[in-house]
């Protein structure tokens, strides 16, 4: 095999591999949407985060704007402290509220941000004060049952 043809083929091979890498990084992976750009982190406290995990998406109006960076238990407030890494391109007002939501009925959980009306914007290290924890299905059901029982109890006396 001529050395030059050999080098040519190896060059083609390496180039193909590089294109595969680019495709994986930008077309398949999330490097195009913020994977490479800078982020700022804000913290928020939730009573209950349900099944929220690290790297869960942070969405606003359904658009991916960041990811959950870490989840830990706050021993002072006795609730969950969630750190969010938000894409530097998106700035949110200071009075933005965060809630733990579920995509679909049984889908993955994510953090939803609803922008407020404040002029001041959230900065690195700020806290989102208004939060809404995850809806726990058991509580929802028991509440529903309780209400139902109360309704029927008031109608038909003390029948359980």
């Amino acid at each position: 095999m001529e050395r030059s043809t050999l080098n040519l083929w190896v060059g083609v091979f390496v180039l193909l591999g590089f294109f595969a890498f680019l495709m994986l990084a930008f077309k398949v992976g999330n490097l195009s949407d913020g994977g490479g750009t800078s982020t700022y982190t804000v913290i928020s406290h939730f009573d209950n985060i349900g099944q929220l995990k690290e790297r869960a998406p942070v969405r606003s109006s359904g658009v991916l704007v960041g990811r959950v960076k870490s989840v830990r238990f706050d021993p002072v407030h006795y609730n969950a402290e969630v750190t969010l890494a938000i894409d530097g391109r998106y700035l949110f007002p200071k009075d933005t509220s965060a809630s733990v939501l579920t995509s679909g009925i049984l889908g993955e959980q994510y953090v939803g941000l609803d922008a407020g009306g404040d002029d001041q914007k959230l900065k690195q290290g700020d806290e989102i004060k208004i939060t809404q924890g995850a809806v726990v299905l058991e509580r929802l059901i028991s509440q529903f049952m309780f209400n139902k029982a109360q309704d029927s109890g008031s109608d038909k006396g003390n029948k359980k």
Binding site: V12, V14, G17, L24, V28, G29, N30, L31
Partner: protein
């Protein structure tokens, strides 16, 4: 009698276990030796390029075709299962994550071990059997620096490239089946995939895996060739051992690496 047979059986198991550990140690020492004698492979990079051709370029067809088929099967199976839950648009996530995290590195490595690893072993083994390695030593040329190290680095360079090509090709295959053939929405296919596949945690980890597999396969293949008994049976046995032990090594390493990557490194 039965007791004796049992003891003998246990002895054999122990014997084998010891031999396996011994061989693993020998491969490690050999790997160290290669690293010590690697300067030549980079100073005269042409030597390594040649081996990238034989290990990488010549494995290209099998890797691309297998990747396409694996991706198509994933697309088909994924669609069948996911449509039961009404989330057939997530088929892109399933295809991409399985390929990038696991199947790309692992299947490409298994194919590479049987295609290129066995060829490396057979070539070095034959060079040894025909005294070409001894001839080199008598010419005051270290065969590890001149023959083994370039082949090792050729394999290490080729493996991640092949794994990425396998994954990319598989995703194209999944796209063909799910979007073109079945009619899943193309936009949903890609956007769901993008929102689920993380560059650092999925793609970079997959590349790290394939790099580790590349080191393991190349070290085993060159070791088996270099240590092969200089006979026809010796070389054929060494070739078989390369495929068997590197396949096992790939799967075992994959478990360890996956566990670390999911739990975090510390």
């Amino acid at each position: 009698m039965a007791q004796n047979a049992l003891i003998r059986g246990l002895q054999q198991v122990g014997d084998h276990a010891l031999k396996i550990v011994e061989r693993m140690g020998a491969v490690m020492i050999f790997l160290g030796l290669i690293l010590v004698h690697s300067a030549n492979s980079f100073r005269r990079f042409g030597l390594t390029i040649r081996e990238v051709y034989f290990a990488g370029v010549q494995s290209l067809i099998i890797i691309l075709v297998s990747g396409l088929f694996v991706g198509m099967v994933l697309g088909l199976q994924g669609y069948e299962t996911l449509q039961n839950y009404g989330s057939e648009q997530s088929v892109g996530i399933l295809v991409a994550l399985s390929l990038v995290r696991e199947l790309g590195p692992v299947v490409a490595a298994l194919l590479f071990a049987s295609r290129a690893g066995s060829a490396i072993t057979a070539e070095i083994g034959l060079m040894k059997a025909t005294e070409q390695l001894s001839a080199m030593e008598m010419m005051a040329i270290n065969p590890i620096a001149r023959v083994v190290a370039p082949r090792f680095w050729g394999g290490v360079i080729s493996m991640p490239l092949l794994a990425m090509l396998f994954s990319a090709m598989g995703i194209v295959g999944g796209f063909l089946v799910a979007v073109v053939l079945i009619g899943v929405d193309a936009g949903a296919f890609w956007s769901q995939m993008q929102s689920a596949v993380d560059f650092r945690h999925d793609i970079v980890n997959g590349i790290i895996k394939s790099l580790v597999f590349g080191v393991a396969i190349s070290a085993i293949a060159t070791f088996e060739g270099y240590e092969a008994p200089p006979t026809a049976e010796g070389v054929s046995g060494a070739t078989t051992r390369t495929v068997v032990s590197s396949s096992l090594a790939i799967l075992a390493l994959d478990l360890v690496l996956t566990a670390f990557m999911l739990k975090g490194w510390n």
